[in-house]
Symmetry: C2
Subunit: 331 residues, 2 copies
């Protein structure tokens, strides 16, 4: 065997968020070599945004040695459709209707470009660089401002017939329960296990037991955040810890449903909520196990993401590039 070198190749990862868009150049090992960011809502039209973004991409590309080293561009975006490379009616972006973003970027950059929603990108990132390396069946769940998810079965992301599969945050776990502030659905997982949901639960608990002492009461009820709940729980506050127990119960019951759907080897959790460590993991695992059929019990790992949070979105988007088949990417 000759000592041939692995070809030096990089992927560009772009994470489009409601506030910021982060861009990076990433190597096969998941190291972010170059980094740029821009404000998403500053650009009135998708074209103006793409122009501004591509200036930054070219800057980064020059720094790593030119575009012959770049295999492609991966984009994670809210309501991103993998099949069409479009962003469709994203509620937290100012561009209306259907935006053919992947095509716009690949025309401008002359590089194959794949696009999916941010949660699916996170799952591909875990498979490529993170806790799901080598797994063919797993689910990632992001517990942040919202609850996002990416599902991998048979080694492939499940995109569904229309490219929108994997909206586990919007599955109903308390029929007739808490109304979601933006979807208007009742009792969805996101209404409870998101940062907003945790704050709502804390407010409800404080109001339900007005006599009970809690250091949470030092905050204005309406301004209470999930961060406050975390801080107080760490200081041993009972109501704050109850909030995590309740949230973990609902999350665990939801995970049981997901396990009976796709029987994953692992469920990988990510995002602000899991900073609470065993306060959230223990009730989650307890209630997941309690609601599983015997054939699924004590089999599914519930683990933390391996990816560094600041880089995770870029890494996930960049990982789309390594997965690229020409047929799936615009060029």
């Amino acid at each position: 065997m000759s000592m041939s070198k692995i070809p030096l190749e990089y992927a560009i990862g772009v994470d489009i968020g409601g506030t910021n868009t982060k861009c990076g150049i990433v190597n096969r090992r998941g190291e972010v070599l170059q980094y740029e960011a821009l404000s998403t809502p500053e650009y009135e039209t998708p074209q103006a945004f793409v122009d501004a973004m591509c200036v930054r991409l070219n800057l980064m590309i020059d720094k790593v040695g030119g575009d012959e080293l770049i295999k492609g561009i991966g984009i994670g975006a809210p309501n991103g459709n993998y099949y069409t490379g479009t962003i469709e009616y994203a509620p937290n972006l100012r561009w209306e209707g259907i935006v053919p973003l992947a095509d716009m970027v690949s025309e401008r950059m002359n590089l194959p470009t794949a696009l999916t929603n941010d949660a699916n990108a996170a799952a591909v990132g875990e498979m490529q660089y993170g806790a799901a390396k080598g797994m063919r069946d797993f689910i990632t769940i992001t517990l942040g401002t919202g609850v996002g998810s990416g599902i991998v079965a048979n080694g492939q992301i499940i995109y569904g017939h229309d490219g929108f599969a994997g909206e586990l945050g919007h599955t109903i776990i308390r029929p007739g329960g808490r109304k979601h502030w933006s979807t208007d659905l009742y009792g969805s997982l996101e209404a409870y296990a998101s940062a907003t949901g945790v704050a709502v639960t804390a407010r409800e608990m404080l109001q339900k037991e007005p006599e009970k002492q809690s250091i949470l009461r030092k905050y204005q009820l309406e301004e209470l955040t999930s961060k406050n709940v975390f801080d107080c729980a760490m200081q041993g506050d009972e109501i704050s810890q109850e909030v995590y127990k309740f949230t973990g119960q609902i999350l665990g019951e939801s995970l049981a449903n997901f396990v009976m759907f796709s029987s994953p080897e692992a469920i990988i959790l990510f995002g602000g909520l899991i900073k609470a460590g065993k306060l959230i993991f223990e009730p989650t695992i307890e209630h997941m196990e309690k609601n599983l059929l015997p054939i699924f019990k004590n089999k599914v790992k519930v683990i933390k993401s391996d990816l560094h949070e600041a880089d995770a979105a870029i890494l996930g988007a960049s990982a789309l590039v390594w997965e690229m088949k020409q047929s799936h990417a615009s060029l």
Copy 2:
């Protein structure tokens, strides 16, 4: 182009049920050419059962012209594991522990043999011969004595990491709700949308409104069956129709959750419950749509199975044969 014939090839389908095992020889078009059956619980050991079954398979094979025309054997069985070809701890079979049935049959018959659970087999049957022909993303749900399901995404059955994915009947849709008679889970779909569940709902409704007239009252409360509910509903009985409304609501809410998981093109329903036609389809679709995110609304077809019910189990099992890759089948 030469006028070469399509090779004449047959598949054997075997459906192992708690009461009967049905065997058939099926052609590519899904026509059952030969048929045999045997009593499952009559055989004390798996070996005795396999011996008796293989006698019947050989009888059928002789009638269609010998085993060089047989591509393989597909078996649908409760708790069947596709990866290992084993039946594992099936509660309604008398054989205990893990039975390596696919290996036993393929050794005896010298034909490649694939095995999966009956619900997954039904999904493969719909894809091969039925309502899902040409679809790459769909879910089949059998609403019979129990509630079974098979999930296809990216054109492949989702088996999960252990071979047991697709237990949608056991997902929880009413947390803390009705206790299931055999799993002891609370509020699972099967506790409501199975034949047993329908009978329980009818009993509950009759007891809740003891003054309300219903022709259901001509039956002994404890002996009431889903068939009675069907008959009375067809005669316009109000409580019986309410039973379907309630069952459809719970089924529809569950379907919404499944759609947000895998975004299927269609959900194909099968089994006794759907005989009630629009009495069950209307509330099911209504409550599914009501619980979907806008991006999923009015997209998913909820349809009846195309397969003839008497043959469906054999067809589903036989369809495993056309899907066979050597790596998945025991030989």
